[in-house]
Amino acid sequence: MCSIMGDILGDLNKRRGKVLGMEAIEGKQVISAEVPMAEITKYATDLRSMTQGRGTFTLAFERYDEVPASATVKIIEDAKKRATEEE
């Protein structure tokens, strides 16, 4: 069980997530985190394979935040590529 928690937290970290809190409720670990949308479009699928289907989650929009410089270049490239495709 602990290793699964470690996997989930490590995975959230890779997704640029910020863990807000962890709590054990009725024997289940409940994690709360802030994650950029761009990193969790397929989270439903990934969490299921990490937890064999045990994990469930909800998502709610929170706010807009600055994209880190490392991710900016790709977003700009993609947008330009799409703009030329659409023309």
Partner: protein, 607 residues
């Protein structure tokens, strides 16, 4: 088909558990055993009663809940076969709304599957009386003990095996731990002496059963303490109480595919599972006051729609449970949720894809109504009163994909198809994202969305393609910058001239866009100030980094120039845009991305 039946003689049971562990096969065996069907179909052959849709036959898994009924020893059993795949969790919550108990089906793989664990958790959390059936005991390497031990390890106080299989080559017979008799498969009503090799195991198991039975009732506990034993009748009573209170979950077993152990299971379902008469249902009136609905055939009619199906022949079919009264055609019922009335015409009992017409349905029973005008899943229809119930809590759609038509121009067909599919499946949502202009379909998982696309193809002949959704990035500036935008066209013909000097900085009053006119001395004539505002409003629709909308920008128009003849609105609109384009790259522009709060959670509560 018998229509009037006492609620005490009805069992409404959902078959739940991990995907592919034999729920549909068990339902088939039960229906065959009770002569509700003439031949036992197979999921693999695509001819089972419960998996009848095109998508289910192709994929060999259940996708929608399916209902069927049968009679056994004077008791009517309504079965709901629930898909085990987690993507169809919406079907699970709909199925659990009407039933009075659950039969958790697992294979004999030697371990506890996640689906079994989730099913047990669901029943415990929501206080749904449950039994476990370990199927596939005839398979090679079938491991009944390994499977039950794994489950008991996790739920030691609740899960109680009452069944010891005898497997020699095949599944031959079993011991009923409660009565201490051995039964041959195929002759499951006829108790024999237990084989001597099993005596000690039966003793051991019986001791655990005694404790479990005693714990469910104070009087039994007292007697157990005094005498150290209970009679068979007392154990049966204790187990029945334990099941009803959801403190005992007994385990039985068999082989659904080979129709072994099914009679024994049916005997236990009839004897020990609660009937609809054992539970009052609480509804609310329009003032929000609780109304207790007693399961009484002579009471006023109250029914609840728990699932809507679209039948190719009958059209929309509303699956219902009659909570009270006796439903006959011609009656007019109120739907408080939709503020409408329904005249009931066709009433059916359901057996997979088939409907059997009936004159009436009595309290506690389940059936289907054709062609209701408005009711949708979860609504209550009531005679004379307006009643509502807590809505059926569907799982939140957590996976969104952009849906496109593979043939251009068929987007409308897709949208129309999806809205028809929403009749049957209320666990997905379709919305247009105004920011990215994409049509988004949100569901429980990848399989769920895939199946929706297959249904679009099969039912409406339209090909949909799913793509990763675009992210609605935005842009803003972190610094301050000033620029002069000069629009000048004075080479022949009517001229255009306008100059705007604008300072841009972060921090709009509404968080989006703010314009301040700080021009002094009429450098920009009054009548052209709105043109600058208009030009900026158009400009901020696209940021300078990647063309995403610019937000939280404050624009100060501080100076400008005009020409008595050539200054026109269009010149200042254009000048404003030029100032924006020049200043923003100098004002430390950044990209913004949407941040979501992700909460890992638990199963939703009972609807």
């Amino acid at each position: 088909m018998m229509a009037t039946i006492q609620a005490e003689n009805i069992r409404n049971i959902a078959l739940i558990g991990h995907s592919g562990e034999g729920k549909t096969t068990l339902a088939e065996a039960i229906l065959f055993n009770t002569k509700a069907i003439d031949r036992q179909g197979r999921v693999d052959d695509g001819n089972s009663t419960m998996d009848y849709t095109q998508e289910e036959i192709t994929k060999k898994i259940s996708i929608s809940l399916a209902m069927a009924n049968c009679s056994y020893k004077g008791t009517k059993i309504n079965l709901i076969d629930v898909p085990g795949d987690f993507d169809f969790a919406g079907e699970l919550v709909q199925a659990m709304a009407p039933v009075d108990s659950a039969l958790i089906v697992t294979s004999a793989s030697g371990s506890m599957t996640v689906g079994t664990e989730k099913a047990i958790d669901y029943c415990i959390t929501n206080k749904i009386p449950a039994m476990i059936f370990v199927s596939g005991l005839d398979k090679e390497n079938a491991d009944f003990n390994g499977t039950t031990n794994a489950i008991v390890d996790k739920y030691p106080t609740k899960v109680t095996p009452l069944f010891i299989p005898v497997i020699k080559g095949g599944f031959e017979g079993f011991v009923n731990v409660v009565d201490g008799k051995y039964y041959n498969v195929g002759d499951e009503d006829n108790g024999l002496d237990i084989p001597s090799v099993l005596t000690s195991q039966v003793e051991e198991d019986r001791a655990k059963v005694l404790e479990s039975a005693a714990e469910s009732d104070d009087a039994l506990m007292e007697k157990f303490f005094e005498e150290g034993d209970l009679s068979q009748e007392e154990i049966e009573l204790g187990i029945k109480k334990g099941i009803a209170n959801c403190t005992t979950i007994p385990v039985y077993g068999g082989s659904a595919a080979l129709n072994k152990g099914i009679t024994n299971l049916l005997n236990k379902l009839v004897a020990n599972m609660p009937s609809p008469a054992d539970r009052d249902v609480i509804a609310k009136d329009t003032k929000g006051q609780d109304v207790v609905i007693k399961c009484d055939s002579d009471g006023p009619v109250v029914l609840r729609v728990f699932k809507t199906m679209v039948d190719p022949f009958v059209g929309r079919l509303s699956y219902i449970k009659l909570l009270s009264g006796t439903l006959k055609s011609g009656i007019i019922l109120k739907n408080a949720t939709k503020d409408s009335e329904e005249k009931i015409s066709s009433i059916y009992f359901v057996k997979g894809k088939k409907q059997e017409a009936t004159d009436s349905i009595s309290a506690g029973d389940m059936g289907a109504l054709a062609k209701l005008n408005t009711p949708t899943t979860g609504d209550v229809l009531s005679e004379g009163r307006e009643l509502v119930m807590e809505p059926i809590q569907m799982p939140a759609p957590v996976l969104s994909m952009a849906v496109y038509a593979s043939k251009k121009g068929e987007e409308d067909k897709i949208f129309a198809g999806l809205s028809r599919l929403k009749d049957e499946d209320i666990s997905f949502a379709v919305v247009k994202n105004p920011e990215t202009n994409e049509m988004l379909i949100s569901g429980v998982g990848e399989n769920h969305l895939d199946i929706l696309c297959k249904k679009l193809k099969n039912k409406f002949g339209v090909d949909a393609v799913l793509k990763e959704p675009r992210i609605a990035y935005k842009e803003t500036i972190k610094g301050k910058a000033q620029a002069e935008g000069k629009h000048k066209k004075q080479s022949g013909g009517a001229g255009q001239f306008g100059v705007a000097v604008i300072v841009f900085e972060p921090g709009a009053a509404d968080g989006m866009y703010e314009f301040c006119d700080e021009v002094v001395g009429g450098a920009v004539p009054r009548q052209f100030i709105p043109a600058v505002d208009k030009g900026l409003k158009e400009a901020v629709k696209k940021g300078m980094l990647a063309g995403y909308p610019m937000i939280n920008i404050k624009c100060h128009l501080i100076d400008g120039k005009s020409h008595p003849v050539d200054s026109k609105e269009i010149a200042f609109v254009s000048a404003a845009k030029l100032a924006y384009e020049e200043a923003v790259p100098k004002a430390h522009p950044i990209l913004l991305e949407p941040i979501y709060v992700l909460n890992h959670g638990r199963y939703s509560r009972r609807p």
